[in-house]
Amino acid sequence: MSSLAASFQGVHYKYPDAQQHSLAGVTLELPEGAFVLVVGPSGSGKSTLLRVLNGLVPNFYGGVFGGVARVCGRDPVALGPRGMSDVVGFVFQDPEAQFVVDSVEDELAFGMEMRAWPQALMATRVQEVSELLGITELLGRRVSSLSGGQRQRVAIAAALALRPKVLVLDEPTSQLDPAAADELFDALLALNKEHGLTVILSEHRLERVAQYADIVWAVRGPGQPVEAGEPRAVFRTSPLAPPVAMLGRALGWEPVPLTVEEARAQARPELLEAKKDGRRPPAPGPVRLAALGISYSYGERKALRDVSVELHAGEIVAVQGHNGAGKTTLLKCMLGLLRPQAGHVLLDGKKVHDLPLPEVIRKVGYVPQNPNSILFQETVLAELQFTRRSHGLKEIDYTAFLSRFGLAGYAESYPRDLSQGERQRVALAAILVAEPEVLLLDEPTLGLDYAQKKELIGFLRELRAQGVAILMATHDVELVASCADRTIILSQGQVVDEGPPGAVMLRHERYASQIARLFGDGLRLTVEDVLESTGRC
């Protein structure tokens, strides 16, 4: 009988000045060495639950805490993060928030420095964790020069350097490309199975992780009890489930499949064989934004090499690729934020760098990867009003507009106090309220749950129907599967493939959605597609 890594008894918690409890009556037990997946809608209290594990809640956030929490036999509430740091490693949603020093190597050593470990041991551990996470070549780099995914891996390595017994990760793969995410899960699985590390992670992209978990904690919503169970049992009823499980539920498969392989074993041949018409891409409108053979280097490092992209009115184009492949750089060049060293960018046929800035801003909206960087007003409402006013647009019914983003209740909230997913939506709303004709999105589904993603997809489709040209950099293959008309694969700054998502997914297994991998016909990419086709045959 193994002992408990963590236990909660009647835990409840309320953030300072909050109207309602974020956690209420949470009672859970977790055996040592388990691999736990925490699922739940955005803003349901997943992050709050995780933060109790090392005492950040309530020690850092204030508020009112009740009940008993024990992690590795210690009381995180009494000891605080400092007293828990040697047994609980923590990786935040936004890795940037946890970096202390400039260089990657120093960052990995920081925790050990704080504990005054001998230098030789620190050097060994730095080497060990950087090999584990595949970041040895990054050791000499500055943290600020890393891509989002590289930062995430550095943050995980830093958390592992102290060899904690429990590793807590808050949406660790949200900024990773599919390959890097798989590598990360392989590494976590090895740590879990071979070293007995207890892993607790929250994740929205369940298709990546459902099969690895021993236990799922389903958080229904703020202040509601957390249900613990076997993955298969939870995903039979949970509103949040990986695409193949959703498909299995819709078609009455038992047991509910969690992986493509399990689904394939259950699917009847006629379903696999059934064909449907490919999605007809909309007739492209005029070219709004075009990059013509652009190249961009950060000092020595070439980020883009001779890239050409055309974006038409009324189409959604995805840009996919590894972390550090140049997706964000491409977006920034297309917006005119960065000036390519070769080639040029045309907005409606005119060079974007020759245009006056107000004209570019009036036409092009850009939502960066980190929503914090564009949120600076006191309230959510003020963010929207600021955008409208600075564009010289007249006031609108903001409440109705906010409710489209599931933000109706947050008009008076302080934007930076919201959850990651909520902030993402505020940033999106603040840009979209200016009614841009060209929209550039960097990882728009970061921190969004399935329901919100569905809403976003509906919204993007609606914008497309209105003739808005949308270019989005994303790792989210399910997003690409459900709404992109074309996708561009970047690798090391070059375009290596381009075409309709179905065709590209056939050629690049890594960028294929679960359903696309299940059927392999390049036509059915989402659960929606399959259900439509079965309805027809």
């Binding site: 409840h12 300072p16 000045d17 850092f60 956030y61 204030g62 508020g63 009112v64 805490f65 509430v77």
Partner: protein, 255 residues
């Protein structure tokens, strides 16, 4: 309790040091100004720094402060020390804005510590160390401390008006008290009617000081007072909001 005792001790020490020259039968007059208090200022300075640390320790022990509050105090002290470098006309200084707002939001002790420690830090990073330093630290500390004692009117505009009023009053009072560290020590041959002479009564002394203040210091201090009012009017509201947003995180309750 301990807290109040420490602040009281620091204040009494400073007052005693400022006022003892008036009681001397043969004040060391005619000294060049920088030599005033050259004997006792270092002692007052050391005692003051020790008392500041004691206040922090006492607050930590009684759990009124924790590592988060100390971190906030440290960051704000650094910021305030840098703010002193902002040039302005006359005695204008941006250094009183934060002690007034923080003292009001976080309490008298925090205000006192922020005021006196930021004067100390700014002196070390360039504003200059001299026998005036302990008195500057005390006076700035008092500015923050009194801000902490002010009531909090329900209406935010009233609150700002009250703080701005204190900004104006403290701008003048800061100069009036600071002058005392050298005033009893100077006595040039002419204009002796505005300087202290040993054996002068309280009323005569006050009359002379009032004249001295009006002639030499008032204009200078008026600029400081006006600067305080302006800065509080401009930045008071958003800064108070931000400070209070952080305050909610300082402590948690167990239910």
């Amino acid at each position: 309790m301990l807290n109040t005792a420490i602040l009281l001790a620091a204040s009494l020490l400073g007052l005693a040091s400022l006022f003892y020259p008036f009681a001397l039968p043969n004040a060391p007059q005619g000294l060049p100004t920088p030599a005033a208090h050259s004997a006792d200022a270092p002692l007052v300075f050391i005692a003051l720094v020790v008392l500041c640390l004691a206040a922090v320790a006492a607050n930590l022990a009684s759990r009124q402060m924790n590592s988060k509050v100390i971190a906030v105090l440290g960051v704000l002290t650094g910021m305030n020390a840098v703010l002193r470098a902002i040039p302005g006309p006359g005695g204008f200084s941006a250094i009183f804005l934060l002690p007034i707002l923080c003292g009001h939001a976080y309490g008298a002790t925090f205000g006192f510590l922020l005021g006196s420690l930021s004067l100390l830090v700014s002196a070390l990073i360039g504003a200059g160390v001299g026998p005036w330093l302990p008195y500057q630290m005390l006076c700035a500390g008092w500015v923050g401390m009194v801000a902490g004692w002010l009531p909090r009117p329900r209406h935010p505009k009233m609150e700002l008006a009250l703080l701005a009023l204190w900004g104006a009053v403290s701008g003048l009072a800061f100069g009036a008290i600071m002058n005392l560290w050298f005033w009893p020590f100077i006595s040039p041959p002419a204009q002796h009617h505005i300087y202290w002479e040993p054996g002068l009564g309280l009323l005569d002394g006050l009359r002379r000081y009032a004249l001295f203040y009006a002639l030499t210091s008032l204009w200078w201090d008026a600029m400081r007072a006006a600067g305080n009012v302006l800065l509080i009017a401009l930045f008071g509201r958003p800064l108070l909001q931000a400070l209070r947003r952080f305050q909610r995180r300082f402590h948690f309750a167990l239910a």
